[in-house]
Structure formats: structure tokens, C-alpha cells
Symmetry: C2
Subunit: 147 residues, 2 copies
DNA sequence: CTGCAATCTCAAGTTAACTTGAGGTCAAGC
DNA sequence: GCTTGACCTCAAGTTAACTTGAGATTGCAG
């Protein structure tokens, strides 16, 4: 078997640990594309194994298929992606993770602020105060919440 | 308006920034419960504002409604939760965030390892090696990807 | 050439978290 | 006492990401 062999959908599924149905689904969504045999069966490139792996990893990192497709669309059309291609895309994914971590960290800090008073506002209790001004009858109505 | 006033679903929605339909949905799912007027309209406790806020915050942190319900079920039945009650539950939420951050951080580090070779395995390139040598010919089982 | 596992297509089902719509009731202001 | 906006119920629709099932082919091992 050499580098240019084409693989069946079942093989691709086994090699990536996904379900055959999921692969068909990805194809339908445009994340993968396949050639067809004379008998209409799909044949994938070996490099699609990596492509599917990328999809799975990116999903674990919380990206939706649409976002993943956006990333994948940066890969070269027509030729098999090189290591460098994958590196570039991995780096862009790293930023996405960094973003998520930042967001969570911020939430955590805000939550810490609020544990002190139990207000759950996630905004240094500003809302709690704000809301006091804004209640219905002008009175000190309880809070509006949320970031 | 005093502490024991009951509020309508519309008020609860406005005070928390959620849709009325969402509140009905939460009730249906058991995250909220309401009294009814003689005319069958829902009446919530003022403390439900905080309860809904908690739901919204927890969702932002990535918890599903089921998990949120689990957290909420730790609140005292029958009496309006105190600040201390909320603090306890907030702290437990904080652990959840910490977990998520840890997980993401780990993924990021693994990804860093792999950017070097572009293998996308998230496992120190083990997979890359396995894959290129393993074809279908014989070898060791195919690769699994993912952490 | 046979048999049967692997594929194919297309439709429908699934879970999460809600929204939208239809048709009808309640409550408060003028 | 009427009008209007807030509510009510129940059914169905929505998006994401797939899975499941039915019915029909294909392709490889023997």
C-alpha cells in the first residue's frame, strides 16, 4: 500500500475512531470530500485521516463544525497538506484555546469576587447595586444579574 | 413591595434577562417551581430571580441544565436560600471551572508539543509515527487520536 | 460464481435547549 | 364593561451533530 492509495470510508472510520455515519455527515457538511469508485463507493485520500483527526481534536476543544470548516478551508486545495500547513492551522487553534482559557479565568475571578457576598452577579456586585436603583417601584428591588 | 411578594413570570423574565418561554421551560425541567394564582398564572418567589441568575451563569460556564439542576438541588427545600447557601454552591461551581481550565490548559500544552511536527496527535507525535509505518500491512493497531 | 460484509441513499429519530404559533383566558386601566 | 397586554397550554419547529433503519448495491474472499 503506498502513499497514494485511496481508502474506504470504513477504513477511514477505523483509523480515526469515528463512526462511518459521522464521516458521511462530515462530507455532507463540506468538511471532507471524497472520490467515488465506479460502483459509487467513497474513496478518501490517506491525508483525510489527519483531516478527520483534526476535526475530532478541534471538537474536543469546543469548536463547532462550522468553525472547524473555516479552519480547514485554509488548507491548500488540490494538494495533500504538508506538515507546515498543519502547523499553521494548529497555531491558529492554539489561539482559540487561549481565548477560551482567558474567558474562563475571567469568569472564575468574577465569581470569586461574588462568593464573598453571595450575589451571583458576576460583576463585582455592581449589578446588585444598580438594580437597587432600578427596581420596579423605585424601591430597592432585588437584582438583575448576569454578565 | 416586600420580601414575600410573589412575582409574575414576565417580571422574573425581565429581571433576569431571559425569555418567558425559557422560564416555562426551566420549570418544566424542574429547575424552578411556581405557585399558581386562582386564574392559573404562575407566581414565583423573589428568590427565584437569583435562582434563574444562577442558571444563566452556570450555563455560561458550560454546565448543562441537568448538571445545573444537580447543583440547585443542594439548596434547601422549603425555605428561601440564604447567602451562605449560595456561597456554598458558588464554591462548588468554582471547582467545576477550575477543572475545565485545567483540561484546556493540558490540551493546549499537548498541542504545543505537536505543533513542532504537525502531527495533530495531541499525544507527543506517537500517532504520527505509528500511522506512517503502519499502513494496512500488518502492524500494530491503528491509531487512535485524541486525548 | 457465490455469499456476505461493506457501502450507498434517503428519511426519520435523538438530545439539548429553547422558540414559535395557535387558540384561549386573565387582569388592570379608562 | 371593554380593550389590551400578559398569561396559559399544547404542539410543532429549530440548530447541532449525529445515529438508526430500510431497502438496494458493491466488492472481495473463497
Amino acid at each position: 500500500m503506498n502513499k497514494n492509495d485511496l481508502i474506504s470510508i470504513g477504513t477511514l472510520a477505523r483509523r480515526t475512531g469515528t463512526a462511518v455515519s459521522a464521516i458521511r455527515f462530515y462530507e455532507e457538511k463540506g468538511l471532507l470530500s471524497a472520490l467515488r469508485t465506479s460502483g459509487n463507493q467513497r474513496r478518501f485520500l490517506r491525508s483525510d485521516i489527519r483531516r478527520v483527526s483534526f476535526i475530532l481534536i478541534a471538537q474536543k476543544l469546543g469548536l463547532g463544525l462550522a468553525e472547524i470548516e473555516a479552519e480547514l478551508s485554509q488548507l491548500p486545495q488540490g494538494r495533500t497538506p504538508t506538515v507546515t500547513d498543519w502547523q499553521r492551522i494548529s497555531r491558529s487553534m492554539r489561539s482559540a484555546i487561549d481565548e477560551k482559557i482567558k474567558l474562563l479565568t475571567r469568569s472564575r475571578n468574577q465569581l470569586d469576587q461574588c462568593i464573598g457576598c453571595g450575589c451571583l452577579s458576576l460583576q463585582k456586585c455592581q449589578i446588585y447595586n444598580k438594580d437597587d436603583r432600578m427596581g420596579s417601584a423605585g424601591g430597592k428591588g432585588p437584582l438583575l444579574v448576569l454578565a
